[in-house]
C-alpha cells in the first residue's frame, strides 16, 4: 500500500517505486538465496522484510557483504548494532519500560512467572523481564522456556499453580503457544492471576481466542487498530479499502508500511536512493504514522516511538490504558554507538 500511495503522489524523488516480492517460505536457505539475488541481480535499493530473528541474522551478513540497506520491521529482542540495518519495530527497552511499571506498580503484579519461547527472542526478552521486575521491586519466581512446537501446557500450568504468582509474563510465540491462553482460561482463570504478554496481538490472538479466553490480557504495543487517534483510524480505513479485507492489521501489518515510509523519507532527505547515501541520512528521519511519531535514532538505527499499554476487553478488542510518548530504544542505546563504531555488526545481549 505504501508503494502505491507514493507512486500515486508522484513517486519518490520523481521516480516510481518498484516492489519485488519473494516468499522465502520460512526457509533460511531461501532467505539467503533471495537476499543475494535481490542485491546482485535485481539491484534493489533496500530490502524490507524477514520476520524471525534467524532470518534477519541470515540477511544481515549478505547485506553487509554486498553493500545494501536492510530495513527490519518487526518487533524483536533488541541489540543489533549494524549501520546497514534499520529497525523500525519495538524493542524490549521501549516495550517493557512501559508495560512493567503499569503491571507491577499499578496492578500489583509483584510476583511474576515468566514463560518464554525457546529461542533467542524468548531468552533475551525473559532476561529483560527479570531485570525490569527486580528493578521495580518485584519478584521473578521462575522462568520456563517452551519450544515452539509444544502445545500441551498441562505440566506448565500445574507448576504455575504451585508457585502462585500474581502475574504470568508471556513471551510465547506462534500457533502452538496460543493454546496456553486457552488452557490457562480452562484452569486458573484471570480472576486469580493476570497475564501480561510481550508478543500478544502479533499473531492476532485476540481474534482467534474466544472473548473469554482473551479478556483481561495486558499488552504493550506500538500500534493496534482501535487505538482511537485520528491517525490510527485513518490508516485502518485506508488499509481496509486498499486490501478489500477487514482483518486485524496490528503492529506487524502496520510495521511494513511504517518501514517503507521511513525509508522513503530518508531517501528524500538524502536526495538519492543509493544505500550508502540513504544510510548517512537515516538519523533523525521521522514519519508521523498510525501509532504516532516515529523517529530513527542515528546512534543505533533503531526507532523512537509511542508505546501504548492496553488491556483486552470482553469484545476481542483492546482498550487503551496509557500511552507512553516517544520511548527511546534505551536498551540498544546503552551498548551501541554507530557514530563511534560505524563498522560494528554485532548483536548485543543483556547480562543480568
Amino acid at each position: 500500500m505504501a508503494v502505491d500511495e507514493i507512486n500515486t503522489a508522484g513517486g519518490l524523488l520523481g521516480r516510481p517505486l518498484e516492489l519485488i516480492f519473494y516468499d522465502a517460505q520460512s526457509s533460511n536457505q531461501l532467505y539467503s538465496q533471495y537476499a543475494t539475488q535481490a542485491l546482485l541481480r535485481d539491484e534493489v535499493h533496500a530490502i524490507h522484510g524477514g520476520v524471525t530473528s534467524s532470518s534477519r541474522e541470515v540477511i544481515r551478513p549478505i547485506v553487509q557483504r554486498f553493500g545494501g540497506l536492510y530495513v527490519y520491521n518487526s518487533l524483536y529482542e533488541g541489540g543489533v548494532c549494524d549501520r546497514r540495518h534499520v529497525s523500525t519495530g519495538m524493542v524490549p527497552g521501549q516495550q517493557l519500560d512501559a508495560l512493567c511499571p503499569y503491571v507491577i506498580n499499578e496492578r500489583g503484579g509483584k510476583r511474576g512467572y515468566i514463560l518464554a519461547a525457546d529461542y533467542n527472542y524468548g531468552h533475551i526478552t525473559s532476561r529483560w523481564l527479570q531485570k525490569y521486575i527486580r528493578d521495580l521491586g518485584g519478584e521473578d519466581l521462575a522462568v520456563e522456556f517452551i519450544p515452539l512446537d509444544v502445545s500441551n501446557f498441562s505440566s506448565v500450568l500445574a507448576r504455575i499453580q504451585d508457585a502462585k504468582p500474581d502475574v504470568v509474563w508471556s513471551a510465547l510465540v506462534g500457533a502452538a503457544h496460543m493454546s496456553f491462553y486457552r488452557q490457562f482460561h480452562s484452569t486458573i482463570g484471570k480472576d486469580e492471576m493476570m497475564i501480561a504478554g510481550t508478543t500478544y496481538s502479533i499473531g492476532r490472538e485476540q481474534v482467534e481466542l474466544s472473548p473469554e479466553e482473551g479478556e483481561g490480557i495486558i499488552l504493550a504495543t506500538s500500534f493496534y487498530d482501535s487505538l482511537g487517534t485520528e491517525a490510527a483510524d485513518d490508516f485502518v480505513s485506508r488499509f481496509h479499502e486498499y486490501s478489500g479485507e477487514t482483518d486485524y492489521i496490528g503492529e506487524y501489518g502496520e510495521g511494513g508500511y511504517r518501514g517503507l515510509m521511513l525509508w522513503a523519507e530518508a531517501v528524500r532527505r538524502a536526495g538519492s536512493p543509493e544505500p550508502d547515501a540513504v544510510i548517512e541520512a537515516l538519523g533523525d528521519t521521522s514519519f508521523s504514522g498510525a501509532g504516532g511519531l516515529y523517529t530513527i535514532d542515528g546512534q543505533t538505527n533503531h526507532t523512537t516511538m509511542n508505546i501504548h499499554v492496553a488491556v483486552q476487553n470482553d469484545k476481542q478488542d483492546f482498550e487503551a490504558i496509557q500511552t507512553f510518548d516517544q520511548m527511546d530504544p534505551v536498551d540498544t542505546q546503552l551498548v551501541c554507538n554507530l557514530h563511534e563504531n560505524p563498522d560494528d555488526t554485532t548483536q548485543y545481549e543483556v547480562e543480568l
Binding site: D23, N28, S32, Q33, R41
Partner: protein, 353 residues
C-alpha cells in the same frame, strides 16, 4: 551408440563404466566448469551451487537406498552434523581446513556407531527406516532446545532454533588469507559432485559394489553364498554418512549459516522426494531430482503462489504412482524403446545383460 548411455540411466548394475560414459562425464564437466560460468551471474551461481551441494546429499541417499536397499530417514542427521561440526570448529579454531575434514569424518564416525547398532541388530527394513526417523526426531528436538546461553562449544553458541549465523567461508588450504567467494564455491561444489559421482560409479563396479547390489536383491541368498551382508551394509552406511556430512559442511560454507532446519523433517522429506522423482536406483537420477525440485521451489517463491507444499505433495504422489522407478529410469526406458524401434529391433526381445 547413445543407447549405451540410456541403458546406463535405466538401471546401472555393477558393470564397468564404458568409454561413452567417460566421454559423457568429461563433456558435462566441461559445460559446468567452463562454459556455464561465463554466462551466469553471481546470483545464479549461488542458486546453482546449492543444487550441487544438496546433490551430494541426494547421492548419499540413492547410494544407500537404491543400491543397498536401505531407506534411511536419517541422512539429514549427518547433513546437519557435518554443517554444525564445521561451523563450531571453524569459529573456534579460526582456520577452516581441519574443520572441513572434521565435517566429513565426524559424521562418518557417528554413522559407524548408529549403523552398528542398527545393522547388527537385525532390524527389518521398515523398522530400520523408523529407527532412523526417530534418531532424526531426537536430534531435531535436542538441537532446537539449545537456545540458552549455556549451550556453548568453545566460544560458539549453538543458538537453538536460530542456529549459528556468520559461519566463516572456506579458506584456501595452502593460502589461508584467501577465502572462497561465491563463484569459487560453485566450482568446488561442481568438482565435488563430479568426483562423488565418478567415485560411486567406480565403487559400484568394484567387488564391494557388486556385493552391495546383491544385498539389495536378495540378502539371504548372499549370506548363503558366504558373504556377511552386515559388514557391507555397515560400509555402505558409513560411506553414505560421509557423503551427507560433506554435503552439510559444504552447505555451511555455501550459506555461511547452520540451523536446526538442516535436521528437520521437511529437509528429510525433500531428500526422499528428490531421489524418488529422479530415480532411486541410478546415480544421475537424484541429481536431476534435486535440480528440478530446487528450481521448482525457488521459482514458486518468486511467483507468490504461496502453496509450495501443495505442489510438492502432488509431485510426490504422481512420482510414486506414475513413475515407479523415477524420472530418469522411466525416461531411459522410453528412450531405449525409441532407439530400438528405430533400429528395427524387435521390442519384445530381451535386452542383453
Amino acid at each position: 551408440m547413445l543407447w549405451f548411455l540410456f541403458r546406463d540411466f535405466r538401471r546401472p548394475s555393477g558393470e564397468r563404466p564404458t568409454v561413452v560414459w567417460w566421454l559423457f562425464v568429461v563433456a558435462v564437466a566441461g559445460v559446468l566448469l567452463v562454459w556455464l560460468p561465463g554466462t551466469l551471474g553471481l546470483a545464479e551461481m549461488l542458486d546453482l551451487s546449492v543444487v550441487f551441494v544438496l546433490a551430494l546429499l541426494a547421492l548419499s541417499m540413492s547410494f544407500l537406498w537404491g543400491y543397498s536397499g536401505m531407506l534411511s530417514f536419517g541422512q539429514t542427521a549427518y547433513f546437519g552434523l557435518g554443517g554444525y561440526v564445521y561451523a563450531v570448529s571453524a569459529m573456534n579454531l579460526g582456520t577452516t581446513t581441519v574443520p572441513f575434514l572434521l565435517g566429513v569424518l565426524l559424521p562418518m564416525a557417528f554413522a559407524l556407531v548408529v549403523g552398528y547398532f542398527i545393522v547388527y541388530g537385525r532390524l527389518s527394513d521398515v523398522y530400520f527406516s523408523v529407527m532412523t526417523l526417530v534418531i532424526t526426531l531426537v536430534l531435531n528436538k535436542a538441537v532446537r532446545a539449545t537456545s540458552g546461553s549455556q549451550y556453548v562449544v568453545g566460544d560458539v553458541r549453538l543458538g537453538g532454533q536460530n542456529g549459528i549465523p556468520g559461519v566463516p567461508p572456506l579458506q584456501v588450504p595452502w593460502d589461508p588469507a584467501t577465502a572462497l567467494f561465491i563463484d569459487d564455491v560453485y566450482y568446488l561444489s561442481v568438482i565435488l559432485v563430479l568426483v562423488a559421482y565418478v567415485g560411486l560409479r567406480l565403487a559400484l563396479a568394484s567387488r564391494f559394489g557388486r556385493v552391495l547390489v546383491g544385498v539389495r536383491e536378495n540378502e539371504k541368498r548372499l549370506a548363503l553364498l558366504g558373504y556377511d551382508p552386515r559388514r557391507y551394509k555397515l560400509g555402505a552406511f558409513v560411506i553414505a554418512g560421509g557423503l551427507a556430512g560433506l554435503s552439510g559442511t559444504m552447505f555451511a560454507v555455501w550459506g555461511n549459516f547452520v540451523a536446526p532446519e538442516m535436521f528437520g523433517l521437511q529437509r528429510a522429506a525433500e531428500v526422499i522426494i528428490w531421489v524418488i522423482v529422479g530415480g532411486k536406483a541410478t546415480l544421475i537420477g537424484p541429481i536431476v531430482g534435486v535440480g528440478l525440485i530446487q528450481y521448482l521451489t525457488t521459482w514458486l517463491g518468486t511467483q507468490g503462489v504461496g502453496q509450495v507444499t501443495l505442489v510438492l505433495g502432488i509431485v510426490l504422489i504422481a512420482a510414486v504412482l506414475l513413475f515407479r522407478e523415477g524420472l530418469v529410469p522411466t525416461l531411459g526406458t522410453l528412450l531405449l524403446r525409441l532407439t530400438r524401434l528405430r533400429r528395427g529391433d524387435d521390442p519384445n526381445k530381451r535386452d542383453e545383460p
